[in-house]
């Protein structure tokens, strides 16, 4: 290795990233094996397959995956490839099936993956046994409170251990439902960004960029009656901290200023929404106690679960994952998540609140896309300009602000450890 990927020198208050890691296709190849095949990767949410026989097809960690609730209600994830010649056996995005028939030669599997029918089976030799040709399940499949992950590596640690401190932040999302059940809302946002995938990791919880990139969003919020004034010494309208959660996961944990469907009213929601939001709040207090209710309802959390899951628990709850289709391009998939018992009006408010900021048509996300694409454009100079600067906050001990960069460094340290084979602490 000629030059290090990162320069991490806390005593010198220096943290630099080698820009090569954002532009070199060889790095992406390494990432496939050393990152995506060695980490738990988000596959989907159990609410997306509520009934027996329900299925979804996804592309996860570069593989076509078929997520199924089988005839007994068990959740399974198969590699979506026929054991005969490799054809993808399911071509639909979603649906309900008791069996999957390959279009090529008609091999048919039930929703437990068992090969049940082979046309002209008698032409195979005596050693041929259909039982040897079930659909291949992913090597490991686990869930935490409905969030389901796959792992393609050898001997993975249990998901709950892997998630480490991120569990606490998933719990805060789940606590928003009286029955502790959330659901992915209908409608998927799928769009490409012409930038390296790791730039979206950074951007998803980089609060330092809010004012420069999103001034028109802040102006809209201000016009609606939300105070966006910066308190002395802060670069965000409300205080917040960046935290490392272990295993490369990190979060910005902020006092809310821009409204929460559960449950902090802002003028944008309209006067008519006040009683319902107060009722949601009262339910939280009754169920969780005053302190926990405040924790749930009055803070916003942008969580990165290493390497490529982002949950923004703020003006709505967004679940966002992204996959590098090339070193300078990613496919982003985003969903809205909400409590299953949410009323029609509350759900509508959540979705409206989501769209003010987020998504390819939001008032803010397109400017993030623009920023990341301009970064990628600028990185063509990497041979001359070599290093990016990520040292905000290193000059202080103790708590780090959301506009510092401890959380970004947390991601990069883990990434570097996995890529270089060092201790991935």
């Amino acid at each position: 290795m000629d030059r290090p990927f990162i320069v991490d020198e806390p005593d010198k208050e220096r943290f630099r990233l080698n820009r090569r890691v954002l532009v070199d296709p060889e790095i992406l190849e390494m990432e496939h094996r050393r990152i995506f095949d060695r980490c738990w990767i988000y596959l989907g949410h159990d609410s997306e397959i509520p009934g027996n026989g329900d299925f979804r097809t996804r592309n996860v960690a570069g593989r076509p995956v078929l997520l199924v609730r089988d005839a007994e209600g068990g959740v399974r994830a198969f590699l979506n490839t026929c054991r005969h010649r490799g054809t993808m056996v399911c071509r639909e995005r979603e649906g309900n099936r008791t069996r999957f028939t390959c279009l090529y030669h008609g091999w048919t599997y039930d929703n437990r993956g068992t090969l049940t029918h082979v046309p002209g089976e008698e032409a195979y030799g005596g050693a041929f046994d259909k039982a040897d040709f079930s659909l291949t399940e992913v090597p490991a499949l686990e869930e935490y409170r409905g969030f389901r992950f796959v792992h393609f590596g050898d001997d993975p640690e249990p998901l709950a251990d892997y998630l480490a401190g991120a569990k606490e932040y998933l719990d805060l999302v789940v606590d928003q439902s009286p029955s502790a059940r959330l659901e992915i809302v209908s409608g998927t946002q799928e769009y490409d960004i012409r930038a390296n995938w790791k730039l979206l990791v950074e951007n998803s919880f980089d609060d330092y960029h809010l004012h420069a990139t999103h001034s028109t969003y802040l102006e809209y919020m201000k016009d609606s009656g939300v105070s966006v004034r910066l308190p002395k010494g802060l670069m965000m309208p409300a205080p917040g901290v960046g935290r490392s959660l272990g295993n490369g996961h990190a979060v910005v944990d902020n006092v809310n200023f821009r409204g929460r469907p559960v449950a902090a009213w802002i003028p944008l929601y309209g006067e008519e929404a006040k009683p319902e939001i107060e009722a949601i709040r009262a339910e939280l207090v009754a169920r969780l106690g005053e302190e926990r209710a405040r924790r749930v309802a009055d803070t916003n959390r942008n969580l990165v679960v290493f390497p490529n899951l982002v949950i923004n628990d703020g003006s709505a709850v967004t679940v966002r994952t992204f996959w590098p289709t090339a070193v300078d391009r990613m496919r982003v998939t985003a969903w809205a998540l909400g409590p299953v018992e949410e009323s029609e009006t509350s759900r509508a408010r959540r979705l409206d609140s989501f769209l003010t900021f987020y998504g390819p048509g939001g008032l803010a996300t397109p400017d993030d896309v623009e920023a990341l694409e301009l970064v990628q454009g600028g990185l063509a100079t990497w041979r001359e300009t070599e290093w990016s600067e990520i040292s905000r906050g290193m000059n202080k001990t103790g708590e780090q602000l959301n506009t510092d960069e401890l959380h970004l460094r947390t991601f990069w340290r883990r990434w570097n450890a996995l890529m270089t084979g060092g201790d991935p602490a």
Binding site: R93, V185, S186, G187, T188, Q189, E190, Y191, D192, I193, R194, T213, S215, T216, Y217, E219, Y220, D223, S224, R331, W335, A336, E344, R347, A348, L351, D352, F354, L355, T356, G359, P360, G361, L363, T365, P366, D367, V369, E370, A371
Partner: protein, 166 residues
């Protein structure tokens, strides 16, 4: 001027409105475009996987009420709307216009569209789909109460953002 009876509205009246709107949007005359909308107008771009969805229970790409439409225009008029600064160049083709329903003082009209979008010396792509409009006959003429732009592609994919008015 009194509102024309909805039954008197002809297809060419609807076409004239659509073509005028396309010209205003391609010219980025967004404040003039607002003048074509009713005070309770909505602008919708459904998600690619649920093209006939309802924004109250489905996550859309865009689901603006009149307040957010006006906020969107204010934003797009600013040099700080980075995704459209510099602005995309667009060229809209609107065709196959049909009036499909009439009720009260409103009608529903549909059309096909292709919006070509160019930016930073690169052709980004063609936004292809259908419009479904709810138009209201008012004292100022035919006005847009709801415009729904339904994209045909199965995901936005390489089209990226919908940062302009589609």
């Amino acid at each position: 001027m009194t509102a024309a009876p909805i039954d008197a509205v002809r297809r060419e009246d609807v076409e004239a409105l659509f073509f005028e709107e396309a010209a205003l949007l391609d010219a980025w005359r967004l404040d003039d475009w607002l003048g074509l909308l009713t005070d309770d107008a909505r602008y919708l771009v459904p998600p690619n996987d649920v093209p006939d969805g309802d924004p109250r229970d489905t996550l859309f790409t865009i689901a603006d009420d009149i307040r957010r439409i006006r906020g969107r225009v204010k934003r797009l008029n600013s040099a700080e709307a980075h995704a459209e600064s510099p602005r995309s160049r667009t060229r809209r083709m609107v065709s196959n216009v049909r009036i499909v329903e009439r009720a009260g003082d409103e009608l529903v009209a549909e059309a096909n569209f292709i919006v070509y979008r160019f930016r930073r010396d690169e052709r980004i792509g063609e936004y292809v789909g259908r419009y479904r409009y709810r138009l209201r006959s008012t004292g100022e003429g035919l006005r847009i109460a709801e415009r729904r732009a339904v994209l045909d592609c199965e995901e936005l994919g390489g089209l990226g953002s919908v940062s302009f008015i589609l």
